[in-house]
Symmetry: C2
Amino acid sequence: MQITGDMLIGAQAVRGTEATLQAINPTTGAAIGPDFHGGGEAEVERACALAEAAFDTYRNTTPEQRAAFLEAIAAGIEALGDTLVERAHLESALPIARLQGERGRTAGQLRLFATVLREGRWQQATFDPALPERTPPRPDLRMQRIAIGPVAVFGASNFPLAFSVAGGDTAAALAAGCPVVVKAHPAHLGTSELVGRVIQQAVRDAGLPEGVFSLLVGAGNAIGTALVSHPAIQAVGFTGSRAGGMALMRAANARPQPIPVYAEMSSINPVFLLPAALDARGEEIGRQLVESLVLGVGQFCTNPGLVIGIEGPALDKFRAAALGALQGKPAATMLTPGIHAAYQQGVAQLAALDGLQRIGNGVDASGANQARPEMFETTAAQFLADHRMQAEVFGPSTVLVVCRDMEEMLTVARQLEGQLTATMQLDDADHAAAQRLLPVLERKAGRVLCNGYPTGVEVAYAMVHGGPFPATSDARTTSVGATAIDRFLRPVCYQNLPQGLLPAALLK
Amino acid sequence: MQITGDMLIGAQAVRGTEATLQAINPTTGAAIGPDFHGGGEAEVERACALAEAAFDTYRNTTPEQRAAFLEAIAAGIEALGDTLVERAHLESALPIARLQGERGRTAGQLRLFATVLREGRWQQATFDPALPERTPPRPDLRMQRIAIGPVAVFGASNFPLAFSVAGGDTAAALAAGCPVVVKAHPAHLGTSELVGRVIQQAVRDAGLPEGVFSLLVGAGNAIGTALVSHPAIQAVGFTGSRAGGMALMRAANARPQPIPVYAEMSSINPVFLLPAALDARGEEIGRQLVESLVLGVGQFCTNPGLVIGIEGPALDKFRAAALGALQGKPAATMLTPGIHAAYQQGVAQLAALDGLQRIGNGVDASGANQARPEMFETTAAQFLADHRMQAEVFGPSTVLVVCRDMEEMLTVARQLEGQLTATMQLDDADHAAAQRLLPVLERKAGRVLCNGYPTGVEVAYAMVHGGPFPATSDARTTSVGATAIDRFLRPVCYQNLPQGLLPAALLK
């Protein structure tokens, strides 16, 4: 499949007439062809009008039709073979093996939603039969959830496949019956076009209205703001920075008709080291934590950016083991020059804070856009006094917070912002302490885990990849797992509809 | 039970030191004692701090404990006997029989949520067992929904019992495990205190932390804005005007941590008269529509403020019958002088619009704060050209929109704002037309009904009392019925928690 640098608007490939964008190889800093031609308001209007025109037909396809459509997209992505993985590798510097795994995850997500559609519970069909003998009589009431409307999706730089053009948001929205307009992430333009063309072809093959999917390209924020502001758009999925997510929330709230924004933004994923666990296996935890820290050059929403322990010999052993592991960890190439610059700046800002010391790091960078893993330390008292120590530094940097005792650990937990995850390393003897910590962590995070590390998000029915603000803009939902479909549905009640008018799911 | 004019903050009765408020008898315009002493930021702070302190204990009560607590509130409200109904009648001018019915509905809602709690599905416990043999191994994942946090509730003037202090929002939030801070509606201050004292007593009797419930009183918007802005508050329930709801949405979005607002605001509840039904029973529909229009002096969120029909002899018969019924309908006292003034102004604004004619009305007003039922007419072309004809006029006023044909009726439907309800009057021969209209109405309304009238909202499992903006601020939820509990819950995933730490609902 050829990459042309065009946008995909409905069934067409459209060459933009605004600023030109280039994909960059972060390993070399060099541009990768071809040029991508950015679009503007005319293309937003065209894509949204097509999405609106497609909506009623698409939402009224059968669940089986949509399941087959999602499976066709999954198969199409797999059929791209090495072309896709190699392009994604060039654009992201992510290793080939990781991208092959991510491709499997992307196809798996699409197939999970096909299964969800066939199971049918997503629709929440609910029946209150008429009670004609009651005073007053009760009418026949039936409820189902229907698609919310066309959805705007903004992909993430750090998952060029699994959270991008055909990623979780797109899969969930298409499953729900919502047409999708994707704004391509500028960090992986070629990858986006390849995947976009697969979806475009799947729309065509399934005989669906062309507006079910469009892919826009544009430099800067203008095209994204225009997309979120378009009256046809009824919900927004976004994964990225806090500033970016907040800008989309403002745009969505400023519309004459406000719409929901599902923005996954910022999380430092605290790891609490409870005393008995630290005592028993502090060194092992230190080494494992560093593995989680540097995984994917720290470029995960669930990267452990905060570690909280209680001072003493066990913590000293943990620290020594972690620093020992850290110093052997190579610097590695980040996703984009911009992300690398932000990492350098974030690390410098932490290093400049009073009361926070850099206690170790990995091998110094030797190539373009490489991040050196970093570890800082502070006391609980200082951490509690300076909110800037909670700022997310996207990349392989973490802060160790040393508490005097369990009470101080609880105080630190209570002062945390909302998180995607919170982790407890614990042994049996820690249960009493954990029972005090757990209610705090439940309120702070979408996922609480024990004796693991937060990186690695299973695509499953019970997964919650979400959490209180600023981790996300809407703690009531998840962006990963089967229930992500809930975000693009709304309930409708049907009262006394004659049999011939009832929706299929409500016939019985 | 004595009405003292105090606020109820946790276990205390607290006398405010800000401006004094008085309950007004709308039938006479006279004040009803005692004086109510408004609170300010100090009382907001105190109520919210208590709610925050109560939250972890309250949310971790068992579903059975909360069910019994809700039932105790229901029984306490019933035990108030005539005292409650008579005070509500004095403050609202609503008939005694209506208020007795509303009391039954209020107790019924509380008991419905007790049933919902015992059934257990509300928690959505979900299990993905560990797969240790898989590569990579899957951890044990379990999900449940937990209470979102303390909730601020703003009651509605038009349901002084069922949508006020112990109304649907309070019942749903308490069921979910959320402490509630109510801002008393100034139109029924004594009723609010009576019900508030029942809840306060039920909290005490159940041995719950006092912060589970507080009732604030205040003039103007300051106390409400302070309440929504308080960091402890995690969600807002509101029923009232569009301007009021929008102000709360702005306050909630301006917080450092934005929170969900469930505001039910404005709806004109279109009724579509399909040709065969109009032909067969236009006169009957005309008479029934007027009954729905004047019910409760038109003071329902679901009042039919818009009727759409196709020109011809059948519509002429409908119109004649409706106007005939209308002219016998007495003017009646509205809930408050403010609502009455707004009704007069709304009717005057409609009457002044070019292209809209007043075609009939009821008996002229003869007493204080009485609303005269009104009926206007316009053409579809004029309706489509002037958005002001869609403005909600809260009270017994409706607009008949005359279309040339079915195509024009569809165009009118497509141009409507979001609604709580949309109704079709139809016969078998109308099914083809209804099949074209239904997809439009599903997108516009939370409830679609056939051959009935929108007033009357059943408290049931399949009910949706919600709908797209501006009917509500969040079309993904309902404020009436069993699934209203969803609004005050959020999902949390537990990964590899040891048995001793798992929440009760996730043990198996």
